[in-house]
Every structure is written in C-alpha cells, then in structure tokens.
Symmetry: C2
Subunit: 637 residues, 2 copies
C-alpha cells in the first residue's frame, strides 16, 4: 500500500510505502530538511508541520508550535507537509529552488527476467513398488529402477552415483512396505539420463525445497524456495565470515596463500552458507536435509575458495582461473549442511574477475536472448561490466577500488547502521541534511551516501569539477583539516563516535578514480565493438549496491553515462535472481551455457585505450562535458 | 623346463617341473610310496633308489643300502626311480597293480580365455601445453581440455568429476612448465566421453599400472599389471582379515548385523586389499598412488561388504541383493590406498549367492561368445554353477557346506602348511601315503586331500558306497573311535599335533552331502533347459580349489560328472583372470554387460527337483551307477 506525501513549499510529491519515515522520504524526494543527527531524533532540527492528513501519521506528538520531528514520524496515509523556510547565515529567508523528484525509471524486474515455468531440475516421484518374491528377486536397485521407468519405455535408465544411496536403499525400500519417494535430478543436458539423488520412505512429494545462494565477498544471501509452488518461503543474509581477513577479494587471496589459509577461508564461507541455510530452514521449520538442490553463484575468487581451489593464479598476470565451468559438487562434501547426495551448482566463471555472479545476473536478465544492446553493470570493489546482446557479449572487470564499499574513504564504512546513505546540502546555508541507515546517529559514509555527498557538493559548487574545495568559501563546515580540505558532515556532538565526520579531498580523489575506472571500462568495451553510449538500448544496474544508487546523482558525478533515464533498469541482486530462476526452471537453467559461450573477457588493465579513457574520466563528471549534456546544463544553471 | 620321472616297478612316467619333490611327484603319478609324515623327513619310510640319472637329483646323500628319502629329494633332470616292494602285514610281498597317470586334459587356459589386446581402460597422454598469456588467459582446465582434444575434432570433451583434480591442477600444470601427463579413463560405453582421473607433472607415460583383485571370502589375491606392456609384474595373496569373524559368508553376514559389525568388516577387507597393494607395490618399488585403475571381483557378500552395503537381505528369503551393477567407486573413498581419483570397478552380481567373481570367471572363459554348451563350476563353501553358452546361461548357487574348505570335517583345515593334500592307500596293507602342503608333518586334511582320501578308501573298499567303513576289516588304522568308525591317517607320533589324525564316518557323510549338492545342482540346471550331462561340450573348473582337484578322484566320488575327461578345463582363479583381462583390454571389458544380461539365476533351495536329485546323489558316487560308467567299472574291477 502506497501513500502520497506532498511537500510544501517545494511542491514536490512522492509515493511512499506504508510506514515510511518522513525524513527519509524527504531525502528521497530531494526535499531539504535540516537534519544533523542522521534521523536519531537528538538534533531536533528536522522540524515540519502536517498541513493535512494528521490522522495518517504516527510518532511523538507535535510541540506547542505544532512542529514535529520528521525523523520520528511515520506515514500511514496521504499527507501534506510544510517544511519551514530556512534562515540563511546572512539573515535572509530563502526560497529553495524547486527540485524534481528522482527521475528513476525503475521499470519492473519482470520486464527483464521474463516469465519462468515451474519445472525445477529436481523432481520427486512417489512409487508403490511390488515387493520381491522367490520368483522375482531382482536386486533392490533394479527393482527401483524398474518402478521409475514403468510406463516410460523410451526413457533412459536413471543413474545414481552416491554409494550412501545403496547403503540405505534396502532399508528405505522396506521401511514403509515398498512405498518410497525418489528424488531425481534431471540431466544437465536434455540427453542426459536422470540421476537418483535420494530415496525416502513413504510419500514425501509435498516437500520439495531448493536453495538459491549468492556468495558475495561481503554477504551471502539465500532464498529458500518451495519447488512445488515456486514460492520463496524465506530469505536470509549473513556477512561472509571470511571478512575478518579483509574486505575485498585481494586480501582474501593474500590470506589464502598463508599456511592453512585456504582451508580456513573455505571453512568460513561454508560456515556462512550454513548460517543462511539454518536461518531459512528455521523460518519454515524444515530440516536442512529437506533441501534437494542448491544453486549458487559467486565471483571467481569466492567460487574457487568455496571449492577449496587455490586462487593464487587469479591474482597474478595473466590472471588465469582454474576452471570456468565449476564441477557439480556434492554440497555435503564441502561441509555444507545438506543431504549427502544433494548437489551444489555454481555458475561458471568467465575470467579471474568476471565470475559466476555476473554470469548468473546476465542469465537472469536474459541478455543472451535480447536483440537490445545492453550495458550490464555490477558496481562494487570490483566493478564488473558486460556489454552486448544475443549475438555477442564483451565483459571486463574494473578494479574500481573499494571506495563504493567505504574503503579508502576517511569515514567510509559498509552500509550498516549509522552509515550516511542519503545527503542533501542547503544551497545557501550549505548545511547538511543527513539520513543514516536505521536512522541512528551518523558514524560514517557508505557508498550511496558518498555519491549523494559528492554530487550535492558539486551542484552546490562547494567543490569544483576536479574535486577540490572552493578555498574562498567561508563556512565553519569547510576547513583545512588534518588530511587537507574537508567538509564536516556531522559535528562530534551529533555523531556516534564523538568525532567530527568529514569528507576530504583525498576521499573525493579516491571516488573520482573509482567512478573514472568504471566509466572508462564502459567506454572501452563499447568502443572495442565499434559502439558508443548512444547505441545503448538498456543499462542494467545489478548488485546490492546498484539497488541503492541514486541514478541522477550517479550520472552527475560521472559514474553512469548521461543517457535517457528511461533506459536504466535496477535488477538488484541479479546473481541471486539468476540462481532462483535456474532453481525453478530447468529449461531456463539449461540456457546458461549459451550465456557463458557468448561472453568474452577483456583485460582492461593492460589496455592502452582504457588508460586514456580513465585519465579523461578523472573529473566530475568528465573532462569532455559533451558526454554529460544534462549535467553540463545543471552545473551551468 | 620339465623332466621325466620313470617310476619302477609300476612303469609309470610323469612329467615334472624343475626342482619337483620326488614324493609329491609319485603321489601325483599315483605311485604309492610309504609316507606317514607327509614329507617332513622324519618317518623315514619313503625310501627309493635312483636307477639312472643320479646326477639329476639333489638332497641328502643315499644311505649305505643306496636308499634315499623321496620326500627329501628334488628332481633336476630325467631319472628312473625304483620304489621298493612293500611287505604286507601278512608277510607276503605284493606287486601293486599298475595305475594310470592322472587322466587330466588340463588344456591350456589360453584356449578358454582367448586373445586379448593391450588397450586398457586407462590411458596416459603426454601434453606440451602453450602457457597462458594476457591474450590467451582461458582457465587452466579449459587449456588442458583444449590440449587433450588437439587434433581430434570429433571427439567429445573429456569430463572430470574429482574436485581434488581442480585443487591441484594450477600447480601441476606449472610444475614442469606446462608439460603434463594426463590419465584418462575411457568411457564405460563407447559413446561415453573420456574422464580425466589425474594429471601429473612432466612425462610419466612410462609408468601406467593397474591392479586386478579377486576378493575371496578366504583370500584376497592381487595382480599388479604394467598396462604399457600387459605384463604381470607382481602378485600377492593375503588372507581376508574378515576371517576372524567366521570362515564363510554366512558368519560374516551374521557378524555384520552386530553394532559396528558392518563397518568393521568393511575396514577389514579394505585392510586386506591394502596389504595386497602394499605387497605388489613393494615388489616392483612403485607407490600405491601409481596404480591408475583397480578391477575387482568378489561374491555378492564380499562386494556389498566392501562397499559398506548391509548384506542383511542377501541372507533372508527371497534373497535380494541391493544392486547387481556395482557403482564405479573411488577406491580412496573406501579407504583403499590409491590416488584419490582412481576408480575401483567391481564386477556385477547376479544374485545373493552368484556374485561378481562368477561373472568375472564366466567373462574370462568367454562363455558368452562360445556356441559350446558349458558347465562352469566354482567349488567352495558355496558352490556356484553356470550352465549355458552364447545364447543363454542359467546359474545357481549350491550351499554345499564347508566340507571342501575343511569345515565340518573332524581334522579338516584350510590348504595350509601341514594339510594332507594328496593321499594314496596301499591296496593290500591299507597303509597311507600322505603328502602334505609344504611337506611338513601332517596336522589336518584340506579339501583336495579329502577327495583323495575318500576316493582311495572307496576304491580300496575300506568304505562302501554309502560311506560306511567295512566293519569286517581288521586293521589297526580302522577303528571304532569317539565319533564312530574312522581311519587313522597319521598316528600321533607322526603328526604335528601329537594327536592321531583321522577321517570319520561323520566326515564322510558331510563330504557326501557336499558333493551331492553340487551334483544335484548341475543336473537341476541342465534339466531346467532340457539338457543333460551328455550334451555338455565343456566343463570348466574355476576357483583356487578347482585348480587342485584330482579330476579322476573327483569323478570317483561323484563330485564331477563322469564324462569324457577331455572336456574338462582348469581355469584356476577365473575371477582374477577376468579382472586381469578387463584391466588390459577395454573392448573385452565392455563385453561384460552381455555376460550379466545372459545370466539368469535359479534358487535351488526352493526347487523340488533339486531336492530329488540331491537325495539320489547321497551315495558314492551316486545311487544311479549308470551315470558313472567308468567309476562303476573301476569299482567292479
């Protein structure tokens, strides 16, 4: 259920979900409200007045003047809100210039991923088997196979390959008087025979579950899916426990070279997966052994570490992975909580830094079936880029650096409680409006916050296009600090740490390099096939971080190309979606080989063209402003 | 190199191997020599004189009268020997009636097993691989696969399924600068792609070994084979360590039902296999990890125990095995000393008591390719019988009881040192001639000895055709003992134990039941397809015990049918031979499916016809003497 908030005097309207926080809604709408404490309710600045619809809000009562704190107010219906005019430092009351709402054409995910049929790669079949007699005492397994093939004369004999199956079979068959449910894994290719992965006594056909898992460097996300209905029953996300050995894949690879390091990292990611499995199973009260198939995707480093394959040569030129197609592994053999015969499928990798998560995402987005020229972007420490359509795809990894995950940024942090995720600056007073995750006191800046801050500082001309602070501005928040010029986002008294939270010129430089690498990557890939941005039909933003990007601001700083906003799509955790689709629809799953066959990797690090584009992109948004017409207009305006 | 011994005054000639023992040679030739101590040299009875060829013998010098002890004499060339005439108890010197030599047409094994080509299921291929570069940084595995397929455009991409392979691959490839040897396992069927089972640095193509193993209830026999030449490099036999829990499969199955019993039995047979592996590897100074394939066969109980599959239902009616085709297992997963990717193939079973050893034997003997009607017999605790030809085969197990392995016989024992394995009786004095295994003092009777003893007692009319002693004979060795009438084979002073070693009427009864069951089995199977003994083209004696059977005597007691001796073949350890052939020749190996498809099991225990035949066979050799014309003539003569 959505409601409309009408902000005055800016005359901006925004649709929000039931129970939305008023301060966050204002930030999303681009409406500036004084807010220093991130939404914690302590600074008492974010005052507003409910003009109409007072019955539709909840939170602490209004004060004597009729003001409420936006950050403490939840919206349960249509309302109109007035934001008091801000008195600027020179005493004049200023009318803020109107801002448009976010021009994000977040077209529905279904347009991208299409329909899928419920035809999972695992199937349960209930069998009533004729018991043996002296006249018919064929072995248990043959009796079972005979029953499976009954009425199907041209189908291949199912195979099995798990010794444990045979060890249990005599007892399983007899436990419920020769009534059993067999779990069949369909062949990876159409012509392959089915594979028996388990036999259960009695009729258990009503319980058929699969797990989709995205194994990220930072987090592991899982979806428990009822394969009889296709419904997602539960989800869970857990920090990858490997994180204690470093935030990015490079530090993991370094740690893996220590004695015992590889084993430790392997165990830690398995432990994380097990946590996710336990959490989703707990939610719907099933046992992990009820899961019949696991479809997973991760970048190449995560995939190799999960399989216990040393990633040493991923990191050294010429950056060679051990394998592209990952072996179909028994989950239990890796230590994953699962029935011993349950398979864990890992999406294939393309190259050292273009992994299965990207393939799964591209697969989910059906780029391999679309004639539209598409740019697929997953922004993170390693930005991965894919350009192409059903005919061909070029892909590359950009070592963007960790800026988007808070790395290399003085007060950078992951998207956790207290991270500034949204930011506005008052164009006159240059005072900040901070919105933090979980509306608590600010303690740092996450990736999406960083993009907000930089684009706002740029638009307010607090910084120039080189990312340098305007030395002429006389403002208490702009100062020459320990690490050079900086802007104080939150004073120590308003922060969680008691420290001033700042953004420095060094931070701006790091962010510029990160976004420059991404942009140079897009351009290099496009040019390698004789195309440019104007040829693009679609830009797909994947990844958890992608889902939080403010499109307009990302374009403003030059992270995304300045093209028609209608062409942008948010796919969220595309890797997880790919796993989910493959888990539900074996036909879609079988198409995955097309995807990896189409994808050709390009090593940008060694490409002189990339270096040229990169140098040109070390500017906000770019040295060539013709590439960013709307930003050019905005900065000029 | 063979030599001829000419025995006088019997005028019997026999061919012997270099270094043959003179006493054993006489026993094999059917020449009676006094010998109470089994060949230990202590009784001093086995005196003989070398008439010619004195230079061709070795051993202690002759005594003053020119006599030598036959049991201490080895033959290194052609000789003529005189055996002194024996003075009978009544003082008369008797000329023994001449005996023919053994009428065994031990036709060469090669006539049965045919030719086989050196085309093992595993192959080593040396590859020089182009190292990766930035322009060509496809993953290690793909690079390897590309190199394997180089120059072969229509061959399927090899598969691999062992995660350990990928874990080692990056290092293996680089260890000798991209020169590697890949071990490929050919598809079980022609259309199956090859499978990579290991990759080794450098060129190791000169080292390719396979192991053939017969997993018997009593012993485990192994052959180490150089798969580059097909030569047997070493063999080793070890008692199955499971034997501590009983001599036969029934007691193993009973033990397996105890808590932990199955696991213990599994570990014990694996330990035995490992012993054999260590022994053969030690002989040729290679590592067990150099073995690239293991081909094994065992009866159904041994096979299931090795795989850790509970044999519970093998023993209970309707006698259902868990599987016929055994899973192709990784040897290391069972605990066998082997490279982690090495496969252990177990021949399929037909029924609870007709196992892979029989299938391997039938496969070795090529019954599935011959138009000749063949009776294949493996005599042991469970006698297995196969009748048929290339069109069809009927098979059955006879619970013959343990008599042939020394069980249920008062002084019965396995074929170990001191076991009486050959026996003659002086037709007049009724004194014994004992030959024991290893020529040591007698301590018991093994299966082949038992057959000798019974047939000799029968021919000398010491016992009648019902297996009862002639109560009228007045001889110190024939007495009414603790367990009824018995014949003293060795007095306590001549035996290893100090006890008299005897054969009793109870023993005779047990043996009669055992051979009766076998004979009834042959007849029932033949009749089930409308045939009888005269239709048989061939009788193949398999099994270790089969190799030691004295054909003539076995017919005399009715264990084998009284047909043309030329039709009998000795195949020895046919199961091991089957494994050896399959290991060397993949084409022959692939034919094995024909074998198991042709074989149909019959449960004799429930067959009324079998019971009738069994009752009729409880006589020496049979109640119907027309079935045994030569024995009838002999006993009448």
């Amino acid at each position: 259920m959505t409601h409309e908030i009408h902000f005055q005097p800016d005359n901006v309207k925004i649709q929000v979900e039931e129970g939305a926080n008023l301060l966050a809604a204002a930030a999303n709408a681009g409406v500036y409200i004084h807010a220093y404490c991130g939404g914690d309710g302590v600074c008492g600045k974010c005052k507003c007045k409910i003009d109409s619809g007072e019955a539709h809000i909840s939170g602490p009562p209004a004060d004597k003047q009729g003001f409420r704190l936006a950050c403490q107010t939840k919206v349960n219906g249509d309302i109109t809100v007035s934001i008091p005019e801000v008195v600027s430092k020179d005493g004049r009351s200023l009318k803020r210039k109107p801002k448009t709402t976010h021009a994000i054409s977040a077209r529905s995910m279904s347009a991208l991923v299409g329909e899928w049929h419920l035809d999972p790669p695992v199937e349960k079949r209930f069998l009533k088997i004729a018991p043996p007699s002296i006249e018919d005492n064929v072995p248990d397994l043959q009796r079972l196979l005979r029953a499976i093939r009954k009425g199907c004369y041209d189908c291949a004999e199912p195979t099995y390959d798990h010794p444990e199956l045979l060890r249990e079979l005599p007892f399983t068959l007899r436990e419920k008087n020769w009534e059993v449910t067999v779990i069949l894994l369909k062949g990876k290719r159409v012509e392959e025979p089915d594979r028996i992965i388990a036999v259960e006594p009695g009729n258990t056909t009503d319980r058929l579950y699969g797990l989709a898992v995205d194994i990220g460097t930072t987090t592991v996300c899982g979806l428990l899916i009822d394969l009889n209905s296709g419904k997602v029953l539960a989800d869970s996300t857990s920090y990858n426990e490997q994180i204690r050995f470093g935030e990015d894949v490079i530090s993991r690879m370094i740690y893996s070279q220590r004695p015992g390091g590889l084993k430790e990292l392997q165990e830690l990611v398995v432990r994380t997966i097990n946590k996710v499995i336990e959490a989703v199973c707990h939610k719907v009260v099933i046992s992990p052994s009820d899961i019949s198939y696991i479809m997973a995707a991760g970048n190449t480093v995560m995939s190799q570490l999960l399989l216990g394959i040393n990633p040493k040569y991923l990191r050294e030129a010429p950056y060679v992975p051990t394998c592209s197609q990952m072996p179909l592994t028994r989950a239990a053999a890796l230590g994953v909580y699962a029935h011993p015969s349950v398979r864990l499928f890992l999406y294939p990798s393309i190259a050292s830094y273009v992994g299965g998560d990207i393939v799964a995402g591209v697969h989910a987005a059906q780029m391999h079936k679309s004639p539209e020229l598409t740019l697929f972007i997953d922004i993170g420490t390693n930005g991965e880029i894919v350009v192409g359509n059903q005919e061909w795809m070029a892909c590359a990894a950009c070592s963007a650096g960790p800026a988007f995950e808070g790395g290399g940024i003085k007060h950078g942090m992951r998207a956790n409680t207290g991270a500034i995720e949204n930011f506005h600056i008052h164009p006159e007073t240059l005072d900040p409006m901070l919105v933090t995750i979980d509306m608590s006191k600010p303690c740092g800046i996450c990736g999406s916050g960083l993009i907000s801050i930089v684009s706002e500082l740029l638009e307010a001309k607090v910084i120039d296009q080189q990312g340098k602070f305007d030395r002429h501005l006389d403002h208490p928040r702009i100062r020459d600090g320990h690490d050079g010029y900086e802007y104080v986002l939150a004073w120590g008294k308003d922060s969680q740490t008691g420290e001033d939270i700042v953004i420095t010129e060094v931070d701006l430089d790091n962010l510029t390099r990160a976004k420059g690498a991404m942009y140079a990557g897009y351009l290099t890939l496009l040019e390698s096939v004789g195309m440019t941005f104007t040829d693009l039909d679609r830009v797909i933003l994947a990844g958890n971080f992608g889902a939080y990007i403010d499109l307009e601001r990302a374009i403003t700083i030059g992270l995304l190309p300045d093209i028609d906003r209608e062409r942008f799509y948010y796919l969220g955790n595309a890797s997880l979606t790919g796993c989910q689709i493959s888990l539900c629809d074996n036909k879609r799953f079988r198409e995955r080989t097309e995807v990896s066959k189409l994808m050709t990797n390009m090593e940008l690090a060694e490409n002189p063209q990339f270096m040229n584009h990169y140098m040109a992109a070390l500017f906000l948004p770019h040295t060539d402003m013709e590439l960013f017409p709307t930003v050019k207009a905005k900065l000029a305006g």
